[in-house]
Every structure is written in C-alpha cells, then in structure tokens.
Symmetry: C2
Subunit: 473 residues, 2 copies
C-alpha cells in the first residue's frame, strides 16, 4: 500500500488557508481593478521556445519541462543519450510550466498586437513553478500578482504603482512598511561621477552585495578590482546621502554637478515644471513622481524612501525601480518592480516599453500570520448548523435551512441523526459559530434554540423569526 | 525571430473572458459555500505514484508527465532506451500534472485523516490537464469545479446536489435544463430482472451506447451476445418506463416484483416512512431524495428526470448518479456526479464513502455565450476615464481620480496629454462607459463634462458633485 505524499516544495491549502489567501487576492484584485487594470490569464503550459533563454542560464535550469505525450523517446538515438541531458532535452520535451508572469505577458502582447488598444493595463494573478531547492519561504509552486502598463512613458504609472502598493498594504492591515524607490538613471549618474563608465557591471555587482557584506566588504572587493580609495569614498558619499526624499535629490544633484557628470537629457514635462534637477533624468523623474503623488493626495511620504543603493538584479529595468519591505517582520521584500524598455523585443515587437510590479502572495501571507493580522476563519464557510434529532425533525428543519441559505447565511443540517454531542463536536471542530437546536419539543412549540458557540449562551426564538434575527447580527 | 505561439489545446483569456469566467466561478462558489462546502486547493504537481493507475490505461496515457529536474537522463542506460518510452518513463519523470480533482482530494483525505473532522465537505475549483487530442470544446487545460461530502451515507447530500445544480444554473440564467437522476441499484435490479446477473458488464456496455446506436443497434449487439429477444424486450420495457418521477418508481417496482427480483435490503429511514418501494434500495433512495427535495421547497420537479437509462461510465459510483443537460443548446452534459464507496481505499484508508458532483466551466461558458446570457463586459474594469489635456490639467485631475477610486469607482486618467480623439478612441475600444472631460476651461469654471459613451449625451457638473452623481447611478 503506497503512503500518499505530495512533491517537495508544493503545498495543499486547507479551507482556513484558502479563505485567508482569498482575502489577500481580493484586496489586491480590488486595488488593481480600481486603478483600471484588466485581468489576463495565460496557460500553465508554454512552449519551451517561448520560455528558454529569457531567465538566464540559471532560470533555464529551473524551468519545469513537460515530457512530450505518447511515445516520447521514439526519436531518441543512443548517440543522443550519450551526449547527455542537455542535448536530449529538445527531443523529449517541447513544453514547460510558466516560470513568471512577465514573459507570458510579453508573448501575449506580441501575439495580439493587432487587436490590443494601447496603453494596455493588465493584471495577472496565477501560480508559477520553479525547480528551486525548497526551503523555508521558498516553494516550487507559488503565486505571483503582477500589474503592468505597456505603451506609455507617463510617470503617472510610476506614481500609481506607489499608490497601489500603499493601498494594498493598508487594505491588509500592514501599516509599518517602507516603499523604496530609485532610478536606473541615478545609478548611471553615480557610475559616471566615479569615472566608472564602461565598468558599470563591476560596481553594480558590488553595490548589490552591500546588504550582505557591508561597506567594508564592498570596499575590499572594489579595491581588488582596481578602483581607487578616493573613488570608493565618492561612491559611498553618493550612495549614502541622508535626509528626506527632497534632500537626497538635492544632495545627489550637487554631487553630480561637482563631479562634472554630463546631464543625460531632459523630459519636457519636467522642464515646464522648472525643476532644478531637470537635466539628470533619474533625479527629474523621481521629483516628478513625488509631485504626482502629492497632487494625488498621497500622505505617506514617511514610508516612501528614495534609496540610491536600491539596484534590483533584473537587468531589463531602465527607469524607476521599486521594492517594498514590511518593517516589523523578518522577511524579504513583498513587492517590487520597475520600468523597462523593449519588453516584447524577443517576440518580434520592438519598442514596447512599460512599467510594472508584483506582489508575492506567499510572503504577504507569512507577514500577516506573523503579525496575527488574519481575522479568525473557521474550517468552513458555514455560519449556522442545525442539529438533526431524528428523521421527522430533520425533515421539519429543511424549510428553515432553505430560508437561511436564501438569506445569504451559509448553513447546514447535520446530515445524520447522530448523538447531539457528536454534532456539537462537529460544529466546534469546524468553527461554526451558531448551532440551531430543533428537536421534537421545539418543533411542537414552534420555536428553536439558537446557541452561540463562543459564549455558550442560548436563546429561544419562534421559528419564523430566526432568519430575521440572524441577518440582523 | 521566433513567432510566439501557445501549445495546442491551451488558451489565453483576455480581460472580457476572464470577467465572464469569474462570473461563473462566483455563482458556483457562492452556491457551494451557502451549502457549507469549504474550499480546498491541491498542488498542480502530484507524484506519479499518486496519479498512475487511477484513471485506467487510457488515463495513464493522457497524463502530462514532468521531466525530473537537473540531469534527468543520468540513470538512463542504452538498454532502457531500447526498451521504449514506457520502460524509460519511471527513470526520467516522477511527477505529473493534476488530471482531475477527485484523486487529489482522496489523497488529501488519506494524508490528513488524523486531523479532519467528518463529514468533510469540500469544494475545489482548479484547472486540470489532459493530453487529449484537442478539438472543439475539448481542451488540454480546463477547469473543474467539484463539491464532495465524505463520511456520511445521508441522502440529504444527494438532495442537496440537486438543489445546488438548480441554484447554480438559475444563478447563471440557464433555466431550460434537465437534471437526470438514476441509481446504480436500479440498474442492478434491472439486470436481475433479466436473469443477467454476472453479465452486468455486457448489458452495461450496451445501455451506455443507447444514445449513439439506438434501440436497434443495442438489440443487435445483445442478440449477438446471446441474450434472448424476450429478455431484450423486458430490458427495454424497464428502461423506457414512462411517466412522472413517481410513476416511473411505481412501474419499475411492479416490473421487479413481476420478474421476481429479490429485494436488496432496506434502509431504516425508508422503512419508517413506509415507502412501498422500500425493499429495492435504488427505488427507495430515489423516493427519499424526492421527499427531501419536496420538504426543502424544491419546485422544479419538471426539470428533474428519473432516467433509468442513465449509466455514467465511471465504475466507482455505487448509489445515486446525476447528469445535467442544457436543453436549448447543442452541448454535452455541463454537470454530473454520484455516490461512491471507498474513495480513499487505494491510499490506505478504506471505507470512506461519499457523494460528489462537478461543473464543467468551459461548457457552461459556451452555453452562456450561445444563449447570449453574458452581460456586456468591456475590456477593462474601468468605469470612468478622465481625459488629459496638458500637464497642468492632468495634475488638477488627480484629486478627483483619487476620490472616484475611494468611492469604489474604477477610474483612470489617460496617462498622456495625447489628442482628445485618441483618448476617446481608447475609451471606446476598451468599453469604458463614462468619460470625464476636464480641460483648462472646465477647471477655471470649477466644473467637468461627463459624457455617456453609449448615448453620446454630455452633462456639466460641478467638480465637487461628480462622485455623488456617479455613485448614485
């Protein structure tokens, strides 16, 4: 007899967990939709020709590949086998599981370019699969919730990402958060200030490690790579400017001017506004995002941090980048995103730029659980259990049962005339808040007893008044 | 440059389709929950040891298998390769994609037997995958919506399945339906009446073809298998009894008594009720289901048909069986189910019986579309687009935008100050019903123009009254 199990890194979600997860999805969906994002769903299976090469070598390794159906090995020769798994792969598998939501979105936009109206705002909440080594908080099947706008350069989109992040977190009761924002243009200007142009990757790799190895570690690494101590000091002076959002903009501007960094072009809207940061695109755009937020009534600037060290690994970002942390829980970022150019280039549709971001539902779940922010959910949606004395009183309860359900109160009649104690144990174990006792005596008197399970209090009500009394609660 | 595509038998769902599908899921979910069914979600990936052998040989063929990650071919020898795909499979794949929702549910119940409270009522709405030949209405990835109760024999569950089927179809606006009901016990009694016991499979196979090859074809087949003409006449007399639900029960009872069929045991509840069909379990239970429905206020007996020819292929059914057709659309059954014994036997937990049923979302979708029953949904949830004249008026619109969203009205400001014509085209293409025009003139006057896209009518409103006016609609 086999002992049943599920694959490593996957999970079953029982009733209480599904209800909690649905709560998170609902808050995110409502927010996305209120900002005009439309839902998209793409297939679980994608052609490997679509997926391969989009996530780097490591990503290709982590793709789950699906064996061709039927006689999958019919074209495999002994030579193929001898040349190893990598050479064998294209002969036995042509489909894989969705690895993220961005590549399928790009594929969808490219395939439907003729019929879509741009700007196209879509959200997508679906599971993705990665053959990662499973560990705490890292699963092989997990959900992503993405929202992207393609087909516009407007910084309104960036401002709205901040608004949506704050609205979702507030809607979930997660009030102690920090939204970090930076701009790839700022990072580029910093490289230029160091005379490090052309060696951006070295600097980038080092900065990305700042969290892990600290200033000392990064300094050591940069010295080994031939950067001077003066350069490194300048780097840290720029990266670690302090002050408010506004003060950091001004201090970096001063730093760039001192270092003789060439302005990298203006945006007309910024010029009109007369921003004095106008000639450095990164700073200009960050200032404009701040102004759009202010005009939108955004009040949480204490939770929006301009962090010049924020890099985000994905190289396709080209403008603003975002990352969100919950401060009172030990947990990686729960959301992130940024602006990219050329999303659909590899699918034959160049020049489609956009901006998007994503929530990690599993991390949000863990945060809410750690902070005890879930309202108590039972193991069932049932609000009311009617006990079952015997066949006759069971039948007599059916009209009330139908009435409760019609009034929107999920209800059950215990299916068998078991011992009352067993029926109460059932209500207790499932977390059903109300039990209606309706035995022969009650029926004869035209009443029912309603017991509130949490307090144990009972009250007697005429049968005809039960639904009104319970809907009033 | 690759031309992107999706695998055969899979689909992208754009915004309007997702909205319509969500409508179907919501109606089903609300119904399931109002009857006290709790949500369960199981992983997409299951171990092949769990899936294989549960769906027959054909099912095993149709399972999508997932290649082991990493160097999947490392243990494969030239001899393995020579012995073909079937022998090779266990060496390269140990996981597969969910094929239905019943086996994962059984696996879940068996794995969690120690902590679950029975009766356990669960619903599950998730996609499943089958490597079937794609054709019209048949996909390789499609959704199932199942509800099952395990751990009780109560016929209340059967009655509630009929109630839920009727409620979901009514909720979707599908009023011209037939719920067919039969009982495996009735089929068994019919076999007995023919003296065909022990040859049930022959009869069963023939009856199952009645729809396709007609009475003549079935007769021919049964003659070839050695049944007498008299037997076959008796068979058809029993299978094709006419009349109401009640009349069919009585006529079959008379037929069984005449044929000298031995009663197959009683149910105490039926005996108490003094049903005269008491000694034939199938007839007894069908009578009790009818009584429970009547007591529940069920009024649609004209849509509930007792059909003694209903067989349903799956051999694990042991009691009542169900199937639902929409009469005014050319479409296979949209729902079906039945009672089974021993759901979890193959996972080491014998004796768990239950009853369940399933909706096919894709077929429901096609019915609703064929009957034009979807309310018009645009390509976006946005109810209201604010036009964008220039930078200053764009910014001036942001407080109104925030106010609309806070009032629960999904809204967008067109992201760029493009030509007005382009912005209107955008609203039109996306199906946005309202456009708010808020240019420099309007701002100076403290008003906006609201245009109803469908009628073209415009009205001028003070900015401060827009939200109240739109929420009132």
């Amino acid at each position: 007899m086999q002992k049943p199990s599920i694959p490593k890194g996957t999970r079953d979600f029982g009733p209480a967990q599904v209800a909690r997860r649905q709560h998170i999805f609902n808050v995110i969906r409502r927010t996305f939709e209120s900002f005009g994002f439309a839902p998209l769903e793409t297939p679980t299976l994608e052609n490997l020709s679509v997926l391969t090469g989009k996530y780097g070598d490591e990503g290709d390794q982590l793709l789950f590949k699906v064996l061709n159906s039927g006689d999958f090995a019919k074209d495999v020769t002994a030579e193929d086998l001898a040349s190893g798994s990598k050479a064998l792969l294209p002969k036995v598998a042509e489909k894989g599981l969705r690895y993220d939501l961005t590549v399928p979105f790009a594929r969808y936009v490219a395939m439907n370019r003729g019929t879509l109206t741009f700007p196209f705002k879509r959200y997508q909440m679906q599971p993705v699969w990665r053959a990662d080594r499973p560990q705490r908080g890292r699963y092989r099947e997990f959900y992503q919730c993405d929202a992207d706008v393609v087909g516009t350069d407007s910084l309104l989109c960036e401002a709205e990402i901040v608004l949506m992040m704050a609205q979702v977190l507030g809607g979930l009761g997660l009030h102690d958060f920090t939204i970090k924002i930076n701009h790839r243009g700022v990072l580029r200007n910093i490289y230029q200030a160091l005379g490090g142009e052309g060696r951006e990757t070295d600097l980038f790799v080092a900065i990305d490690k700042l969290d892990k190895i600290g200033r000392e570690g990064v300094t050591k690494e940069l010295l080994e790579r031939g950067f001077s101590e003066l350069t490194i000091d300048t780097l840290f002076a720029l990266l670690t400017v302090e002050g408010s959002y506004e003060e950091k903009l001004q201090r970096l501007l001063a730093g760039f001017v001192t270092a003789g960094v060439e302005p990298d072009g203006t945006r007309p809207s910024a010029a009109e506004d007369g921003q004095d940061t106008a000639n450095y695109r990164g700073l200009t755009e960050l200032a404009e995002v701040r102004d759009l937020l202010t005009a939108s009534g955004f009040k949480q600037f204490d939770r929006l941090e301009f962090d010049p060290t924020l890099a985000r690994g994905l190289s396709y970002y080209t403008g603003c980048i975002f990352e969100v942390k919950i401060n009172n829980v030990q947990m990686g970022s729960v959301s992130g995103g940024g602006r990219y150019d050329n999303l659909t280039g590899s699918f034959g549709l160049p020049g489609v730029s956009g901006v998007g971001f994503s929530f990690g539902v599993d991390r949000l779940y863990d945060c809410l659980e750690a902070l005890d922010l879930f309202t108590v959910t039972g193991e069932t949606p049932t609000r009311c259990l009617i006990t079952h004395f015997d066949v006759a009183s069971g039948r007599a309860a059916l009209p009330l049962l139908a009435e409760l359900r019609a009034a929107g109160i999920p209800a059950e009649l215990y299916p068998d005339a078991s011992k009352l104690q067993k029926q109460f144990k059932y209500a207790d174990a499932k977390g059903i808040p109300l039990v209606i006792i309706m035995g022969p005596e009650e029926i004869a008197a035209g009443v029912v007893k309603v017991k509130i399970m949490q307090t144990g209090t009972e009250r007697v009500l005429p049968i005809g008044e039960v639904v009104t009394a319970l809907t009033a609660e």
